[in-house]
């Protein structure tokens, strides 16, 4: 019996000692990280005839990062948003990345498109200085945000100035023919999980940082496809060409005691002219076409008094943004909109911000009507990155 107890004791404690001896707690070569961001808030909107106010359900966007080695990585972002009494979910991106050499990285999967910089770099709530995107982005926007395909990207150090590039091929957009939503005939839909024709979209962005302090970046993006309609449909050969110009300037200027941040982007979309069918209330059908050209622009200026001696003032940020959007004349979604937005932010930390913003938007036309609408909005948002 004694021998049995001795053996059992040796096995139990010996095992633990063995485990302690060899558990060095060294970091593993592969690593999984959960990051992301979330935001919530309150909005009050007044469009003259109609006023509404609502607390916003939290939006939650977890980002999954898996680093397999110093060269191979997987990234994915999910999005959960409470909207119109429903929980909307989405896969913002999910792609594999491999660093080929110091100047080249290949990505494959669903990735954010480098069409300008807003959607790829600046749209997350804890980065965007205002509670919403400028005109021309989002559901009715003209700038593509993501695509499924393959991309090559990288950067070169030119001995002070820097050059970054990205070229890609994706499934491309699908033109809405109006059969399901007549009021959206001619709009390009970029969220296509399966290609509906043989034509792929090709695009890229070139960015130049001309000064050694990386304060300024100028970028040019292009996106093109020779076919946007379904295969064997009359819209199969309707091509599209989009381009964007972007500008960024961020610098701490001692003379004004803080950081100035200027961002702007111009987007232009040109789609081949196509013929669509309008069904009147009496059932008669009429063919129509229009010059399918749209454009949008935004310019934003923000200032943080980071050199102030007062801790409260140091964490403040003042923001102003102008944006406009023009949709084609003659389309059911013809629109001219202009928006001015002003904001006061308080940074609780480098990744958590409370935003107070007033916005006024003038819209002529659009989905909701033909007249002129003025909408004023007051927003209080709280965003956090993690």
């Amino acid at each position: 019996m004694k021998k049995l107890l001795v053996v059992l004791t040796a096995v139990v404690f010996g095992g633990q000692m063995y485990g302690q001896t060899y558990n060095t707690f060294e970091p593993s070569k592969t690593q999984f990280m959960l990051r992301g961001y979330g935001h919530t808030g309150f909005e009050y909107m007044d469009s003259g005839d109609e006023t509404e106010s609502t607390f916003l359900g939290s939006a939650f966007a977890p980002i999954f990062l898996y680093k397999h080695s110093d060269r191979l990585m997987f990234e994915a972002e999910l999005e959960f948003v409470l909207e119109s009494d429903e929980l909307e979910t989405g896969l913002e991106y999910a792609d594999v990345m491999y660093v080929l050499n110091k100047n080249m990285t290949v990505r494959a999967g669903k990735f954010l498109l480098p069409f300008g910089t807003f959607m790829e770099r600046l749209h997350p709530a804890w980065i965007n200085r205002l509670p919403n995107a400028p005109l021309g982005y989002g559901h009715d926007g003209i700038a593509p945000s993501s695509g499924i395909g393959v991309e090559l990207r990288g950067a070169f150090d030119l001995g002070g100035p820097k050059l970054n590039y990205s070229v890609y091929s994706t499934n491309g957009p699908r033109i809405k023919d109006g059969s399901e939503e007549p009021e959206e005939a001619g709009i390009l839909e970029f969220e296509n999980y399966e290609d509906t024709n043989l034509a792929k979209a090709y695009g890229g962005r070139l960015g130049l940082l001309p000064f050694p302090d990386s304060s300024t970046e100028i970028g040019f993006s292009a996106y093109s496809t020779s076919g946007t309609g379904e295969e064997d449909s009359e819209y199969e050969d309707i091509g599209a060409f989009l381009f964007a110009l972007d500008f960024s300037f961020v610098k701490q200027i001692s003379a004004i005691g803080g950081i100035v941040d200027v961002k702007s982007q111009f987007n232009n979309s040109n789609v081949d002219t196509a013929t669509f069918i309008e069904t009147h209330e009496d059932g008669d059908e009429e063919e129509y076409s229009f010059d399918n050209q749209s454009n949008s622009f935004y310019g934003q200026l923000s200032y943080r008094p980071t050199m102030s001696g007062n801790k409260f003032i140091k964490n403040l940020e003042f923001v102003a943004r102008y944006s406009d959007f023009k949709a084609p004349e003659g389309a059911e979604w013809e629109e001219k909109s202009t928006q001015y937005a002003f904001g006061l932010n308080y940074w609780l930390s480098w990744r958590s911000v409370v935003k107070l913003s007033y916005q006024t938007t003038e819209t002529e036309g659009g989905h909701d009507g033909d007249g002129l609408t003025n909408t004023d909005g007051l927003f209080v948002h709280w965003a956090i990155g993690f």
């Binding site: 080249m104 990288g154 480098w350």
Partner: protein
């Protein structure tokens, strides 16, 4: 639009081939002179290179407020650095120097 499509494809091909040739070509000289020690010391003395802290301030602030080094551990910073290098299209030199700074200051 077909012509624009061909131009875009052409630019993509030229960019891809150009980037491949430049990034894969060796920068080493076939034959190099052996520098004397005084020249090497003088050259290093005049070499002005930005610190990781300086690059951290300049580069991260281009999109968001520069992160606090204390918020993540060394292994986390390795993952984040690789992710940001690709996402923000940083040069290898920038991301390595920033990563070294963040790991040394956390």
């Amino acid at each position: 639009m077909k012509i624009m499509n061909k131009i875009v494809i052409g630019v993509i091909l030229v960019t891809t081939i150009g980037a491949t040739v430049v990034s894969c070509s060796s920068t080493k000289k076939g034959y190099s002179d052996i520098p004397d020690s005084e020249t090497v010391v003088a050259e290093e003395g005049f070499k002005l290179e930005k610190s990781g802290a300086q690059l951290w301030g300049e580069t991260c602030n281009r999109c968001h407020i520069a992160p606090s080094p204390a918020d993540y551990n060394d292994t986390d910073w390795e993952t984040i650095s690789l992710h940001m290098r690709i996402r923000a299209n940083l040069t290898e030199h920038e991301s390595k120097k920033i990563e070294e700074f963040l790991k040394s200051a956390n």
